[in-house]
């Protein structure tokens, strides 16, 4: 079996070094003590041992695996699936569903229990709802049995894998929110002088949202075909930017007693700033979805964009006119008590999860262990057409991945990954965020004031919390808060 994977694996030294750098993002107390029975399973060849064990479990039975995955991810998943089949003889069938509907489809399986898939790749933010529905296998017992102790040490973001302290999936996509800037415009000496004369600080990759807004305003010259930004203003995406602006003002969305803080003065100011910034965006910002946004910024006539590693894959391709002329940065921060607070944000990503209806959950688990191993996940991330982004420290050292993303981007991406705040991983996340999206979009469209929108949203959140069960939500919220990166956790109120 070793022969199959020759030449694509990292050296042990690489793995350990990357593991050390990834340690900063490893704050999962429930992980401690796990894998006690799996110490003989080394991280370096975990893909081989997982495949061998799966083959042994399957024996002479006619076993196959069905994976439900978001559309467009076949390029990431299939190469790994093919290697799994070669190694184990267990065929893999792929079931692609629309990207925005996969969590809904997995939830439906909780109702129908049809056994339509053994593994799925839902969006990470939906894990709490899926776990509560009973459709996901709690992976603790399998991890205890098979996962090497250092399996996740090299993974830069693992908070989304857990719900109430239990493991429910393995992160396979490093979807932290990043900023993209037009480097030609930033480096233009005339622009730099004009901007610094007006604002009193240098034109460079902005540190704060205030600076970003000022720069977008500066470059917004629609009469000359120049636009300040391509930030999202469509309902599905708009709340994520506000989430970043709000956290950068030094607040958690919920107080310890789960009272919403989103409608405090900081929240209202963040929303008013977002609405004001809308004036400096290109005309399609309110209608364009994800891929239209890539194309719009790829034209090279806009100063700033927000996105993920997938955005960079497009912008660094031949389809983009701005290829090679980009600067990158974390999401901007804010000044809190006179000091800069940056709150990078992990807001999407996909997790390998195992269906509780699967006839072979153990083999399905072993597939996810195989697919997320250092060697296999590197193969998955390499695909230039897919959208899985680096998640393990080892990925940043892979020459093919470096070529796909550029080294400059990977530096910014890794920094953002290590310091990312988690998404709102509570039961009912979809409902909480739907209320937030609708109200923020309404305020941006001018049908509500910022205060009214956030007050309405906070009132809805109170009702959702009551309905979901305050005690249960409180357990998860405190777990989540404890897993915000240390440097950020200490500064948020």
């Amino acid at each position: 079996m070793k022969r199959l994977f020759n030449g694509i694996g990292p050296s042990r030294r690489d793995v350990l070094k990357a593991g050390a750098t990834g340690l900063a993002g490893f704050a999962m107390s429930p992980l401690l003590g796990r894998g006690a029975h799996a110490e003989q399973w080394a991280l370096k060849n975990i893909h081989e041992t997982a495949a061998a064990k799966a083959k042994e479990l399957a024996g002479s039975r006619n076993v196959s695996l069905k994976i439900m995955q978001p559309s467009g991810s076949l390029g990431n998943v299939k190469p790994v699936g093919d290697l799994w089949t070669k190694a184990t003889g267990i065929p893999v069938h792929y079931l692609e569903v629309p990207l925005g509907e996969i969590n809904q489809k997995v939830l439906l399986e909780a109702v129908s229990k049809s056994g339509s898939f053994d593994l799925a790749l839902p969006a990470t933010f939906g894990i709490p709802d899926l776990a509560e529905s009973g459709i996901l296998v709690n992976l603790d017992k399998y991890a205890q049995k098979y996962e090497p102790t250092d399996y996740q040490k090299d993974v830069l973001y693992t908070i989304g894998d857990y719900y109430k302290g239990s493991l429910y999936g393995y992160q396979t996509d490093g979807d932290t929110y990043l900023m993209f800037y037009n480097k030609d415009w930033l480096d233009n000496a005339d622009e730099q002088k004009g901007f610094s004369d007006k604002h009193g600080y240098a034109l460079k990759v902005p540190d704060t949202w205030e600076q970003l807004d000022a720069m977008m305003e500066w470059f917004h010259r629609p009469d000359k075909g120049m636009y300040g930004g391509a930030l999202f203003r469509t309902q599905y995406f708009i709340a994520w930017e506000w989430w970043g602006r709000f956290h950068a003002k030094g607040f958690y969305p919920l107080a310890d007693d789960l009272t919403p803080q989103i409608n405090n003065d900081a929240g209202i100011a963040a929303l008013e700033e977002l609405i004001a910034a809308s004036k400096f965006l290109y005309p399609g910002a309110r209608t364009n979805g994800l891929f239209e946004n890539f194309e719009a910024f790829g034209k090279g006539d806009k100063f700033a964009d927000i996105g993920w590693g997938g955005t960079q894959k497009f912008l660094n391709s031949d389809k983009s006119k701005i290829k090679g002329r980009l600067a990158f940065g974390d999401m901007p921060g804010g000044m809190v008590n006179g000091e800069l607070l940056r709150t990078p944000y992990f807001n999407w990503g996909w997790n390998y999860v195992v269906s509780s209806v699967s006839p072979d959950p153990e083999i399905a688990y072993l597939f996810s262990l195989f697919a997320c191993s250092p060697v296999m996940s590197t193969i998955a991330v390499r695909d230039p057409g897919g959208y899985f982004d680096p998640i393990r420290g080892i990925h940043y050292k892979d020459p093919q991945i470096q070529k796909t993303y550029t080294e400059e981007f990977l530096v910014a991406h890794k920094h953002s990954m290590i310091n990312s705040i988690p998404d709102f991983y509570l039961k009912g996340q979809g409902e909480y965020f739907d209320e937030l999206r609708v109200n923020i979009a309404a305020a941006d469209a001018g049908t509500k004031t910022a205060k009214a929108a956030l007050d309405d949203c906070a009132a809805s959140w109170e009702r959702i919390t009551r309905r979901m069960g305050k005690r249960s939500q409180s357990v998860q919220w405190h777990f989540l808060k404890a897993n915000y990166p240390a440097g950020i956790r200490d500064r948020l109120k």
């Binding site: 909780a110 529905s133 009973g134 309404a442 009132a459």
Partner: protein, 323 residues
């Protein structure tokens, strides 16, 4: 005697006219008798049972769900759901999105039915007389009604796209570039949705009104013409009052249908931006099939049912007068 009649005719007719089955030792009638089911009851039983299964049982389930917090994703059967009294109704009372969606839907019904009826009346007047190509013209007019609603909505999505034909036509008309995001503007986003609905369903209204108009008794119209009444006066004083029962039924049917408007909303805007185009069906779809809040949405459905029933009763009052 009675025994003979029953044997000959599988039942006997008494003087009072009631159908009775006498006791039979063998055969189907015998089975009914053994079960104690009268023949007349046996005749209506299948229909009654069908209605029970397709109407009464689901209604009872909805009534039960409306007072529970059941979500199928709780890994509980619906009959095991937690009873929460009237909390769902309480939450709906404070749910601004639900209230806005209701008001918005009533507005859509008012505008769409008003426009559809006006257009249908105008077209019916045009088509009530015989003229060449009339049959072909009627066929063309009723074509939109035959288009799959999702396809119709998709056509309007393309028409009102930022770079679609509508913006292009306005650009040509005014002689300078016109770019307007119809579907993301909270003031205007409802317009394409209502236009789609009107375009597709005016033909149905037209057919109903035309049929009614063609069936009107001609004597009164002839008398009015002979007495020198103007066409407008004839329409207002004779045609319209006689047509009221048909118009009433047409408005009633279309109002109920329009209240359920979903396809154009889903395809064109999905209720965006900021809920500005969220109708009650869209709201309930999200609640039930995206967030699986079956209990809450069952309560919302009951409120909507009461509202629609009230509207139906209000609209059918003039009909009763006419009949």
């Amino acid at each position: 005697m009675i025994e003979t009649e029953a044997r000959d005719g599988a039942g006997g007719v008494h003087a009072a006219g009631a159908l009775h089955v006498e006791a039979e030792p063998v055969g189907r009638s015998g089975l009914l008798a053994r079960l104690g089911i009268p023949f007349n009851v046996a005749l209506v039983l299948p229909a009654q049972l069908t209605i029970m299964v397709v109407v009464v049982v689901p209604t009872l389930i909805v009534l039960w769900l409306a007072v529970t917090d059941w979500q199928p994703t709780q890994d509980l059967a619906w009959w095991q759901a937690q009873f929460i009294w009237f909390w769902n109704f309480n939450d709906l009372w404070y749910d601004q999105r639900f209230i806005n969606a209701l008001i918005r839907t009533v507005f859509v019904v008012g505008v769409c039915i008003g426009v559809e009826l006006s257009l249908a009346l105008a077209l019916a007047l045009l088509f009530v007389e015989e003229w060449w190509w009339k049959r072909l013209a009627v066929s063309v007019i009723i074509l939109p009604m035959m288009v799959v609603p999702v396809d119709a909505a998709n056509a309007f999505f393309m028409l009102f796209n930022d770079r679609g034909p509508i913006n292009h036509m306005i650009t040509v008309l005014i002689g300078r570039p016109f770019t307007f995001s119809w579907l993301s503007d909270p003031t205007w986003a409802m317009l394409p949705i209502m236009l789609c609905e009107i375009w597709q369903w005016t033909p149905l209204m037209f057919l109903m009104v035309l049929t009614g108009m063609m069936a009107l008794p001609q004597n009164q119209v002839r008398a009015a013409v002979a007495l020198g009444a103007s066409p407008v006066r004839i329409f207002r004083r004779i045609v319209l009052p006689l047509l009221m029962p048909v118009i009433g039924i047409a408005v009633l049917i279309r109002s109920i249908e329009t209240f359920k408007i979903f396809d154009p909303v889903y395809i064109l805007t999905r209720g965006q931006p900021g809920g500005a185009t969220e109708t009650i069906s869209m709201y309930m779809y999200n609640g039930a099939f995206v967030y699986f809040r079956m209990g809450y949405i069952a309560a919302a459905a009951l409120i909507v049912l009461v509202l629609v029933l009230s509207i139906c009763i209000a609209l059918s009052k003039p009909l009763k007068r006419h009949t």
